[in-house]
């Protein structure tokens, strides 16, 4: 499990509008680019990049599929997941909060306790 790394993807892509749009347009390409260019960045000094971080196939698959239910069930932080996916898909819904309510419906099968998000 690499919840931290899933969260790092969500955090990183959410706060950079260029990455957000690239993720919307071509998730497979953006995930591949992120793993290559950004996943190991820690301090910003290239020589000090992290050496050991890896997404699992399941995590990569959920990110490539834009599958926010799977991301959260893998332990992705709900605030990060919701915020990024609002940025990606709210625009496709005419009704205010339409996407947020669809998101809630897709999680309707959940009961407490929700997936563990501790990193």
């Amino acid at each position: 499990m690499s919840r931290y790394l899933l969260d790092k993807f969500l955090y990183d892509v959410d706060r950079d509008p260029e990455l957000t749009e690239a993720y919307r347009a071509d998730p497979a390409a953006l995930v591949e680019r992120w793993e290559r260019e950004r996943m190991r960045v820690l301090t910003g000094v290239p020589g000090d990049d992290t050496t050991w971080t890896r997404l699992t196939d399941e995590e990569r698959g959920a990110l490539v599929a834009h599958d926010y239910v799977a991301i959260q069930e893998l332990g992705g932080h709900p605030f990060l997941t919701l915020t990024l996916f609002i940025a990606l898909f709210e625009r496709d819904h005419a009704e205010p909060l339409g996407f947020q309510r669809e998101y809630a419906r897709r999680l309707a099968h959940w009961s407490l306790p929700y997936p563990d998000i501790a990193t």
């Binding site: 950079d16 709900p78 501790a118």
Partner: protein, 286 residues
């Protein structure tokens, strides 16, 4: 010594700014009542003529991140840029610049460390909507210097609820012992029941109205022991998966000293209940 003239504990609703600045014809039907309540609440701060504001909030993974996560952090900087790209994008919040009060920040850090709170600090901090929402509602002219105090209510493992109360009590002592002639207000923002990224999000009201009624009762009456007897890190998942933000209210109850609030108001909105509380620790005429 400095005088603690007001303690305010409030929810922070990121959509208030956009809702209240819409032209009258475009406002949703709940907007006018909301604005009236906020303006009445603002007066509880204005009338106490504060000189400096201690602002308690919680960064939402904006600057504070999982590679280096403090539990409690005090800003010590001459200025604080405010609001982030994703808050502008999602909530329509404006970019802001707040002035800092470094002398009170330094006092807070020294005294906090000496009282057993190993506070982190930041000399270059961009504050987010947990601090700017109360500025927008309570001090929209943004003319007072601040000391930001951030808590971790967001990234487990979290400090225990009682630790928030203890820190609030310490903040009260720290302000009271500040050698300054200034009038200080402590303003904290948190949440009642709240769900974000869960099946109960964005419903017609908050995810747990029973918890909300109880919580408002605890806060308004200053019932710290009652709150602590029913709330734990595990239990706070039940009213909604973002309800740990209630611990910022516990911190503010610690600052207020377990007394009844002079002003207590609330408003049921879609998605969440708004709630506003004010205490005057040295009397309403201080």
């Amino acid at each position: 010594m400095a005088q603690l003239v007001a303690v305010l504990a409030t929810t922070h609703h990121p959509f208030y700014y956009r809702t209240s600045t819409l032209p009258p014809g475009e406002r949703p039907d709940f907007a006018d009542a909301w604005v009236r309540k906020v303006e009445a609440y603002r007066e509880t701060l204005t009338r106490m003529r504060p000189d400096v504001l201690v602002m308690v909030g919680s960064d939402h993974f904006h600057q504070l991140w999982l590679d280096n996560m403090p539990q409690f952090l005090v800003g010590k900087a001459p200025f604080y840029d405010a609001n982030f790209h994703n808050e502008e994008r999602e909530f329509g919040l404006p970019r802001m610049l707040l002035r800092g009060h470094e002398q009170l920040s330094a006092h807070m850090l020294r005294e906090g460390l000496d009282k057993g709170f190993d506070l982190a600090f930041s000399n270059e901090l961009r504050v987010d909507h947990s601090i700017t929402c109360p500025i927008v509602t309570l001090r929209p002219q943004n003319d007072l210097p601040i000391v930001p105090l951030y808590t971790n209510i967001f990234a487990p493992p979290l400090p225990q609820p009682k630790r928030f109360v203890q820190l609030g009590r310490a903040v009260r002592e720290i302000v009271d012992s500040w050698p300054s002639g200034l009038r200080v207000a402590v303003i904290g923002s948190g949440h009642l029941s709240l769900e974000l990224g869960g099946p109960r999000q964005f419903g017609p009201h908050g995810p747990d109205p029973v918890f909300d009624r109880k919580a408002v009762g605890w806060i308004a009456s200053g019932d710290i022991e009652g709150a602590l007897s029913e709330v734990s890190l595990d239990s706070l998942w039940e009213p909604g998966n973002a309800t740990h933000g209630f611990m910022d209210f516990l911190l503010m109850m610690g600052v207020a000293g377990g007394t009844e609030a002079a002003h207590a108001d609330s408003l049921d909105l879609f998605h969440t209940m708004e709630a506003y509380f004010t205490w005057y620790p040295n009397g309403a005429d201080a």
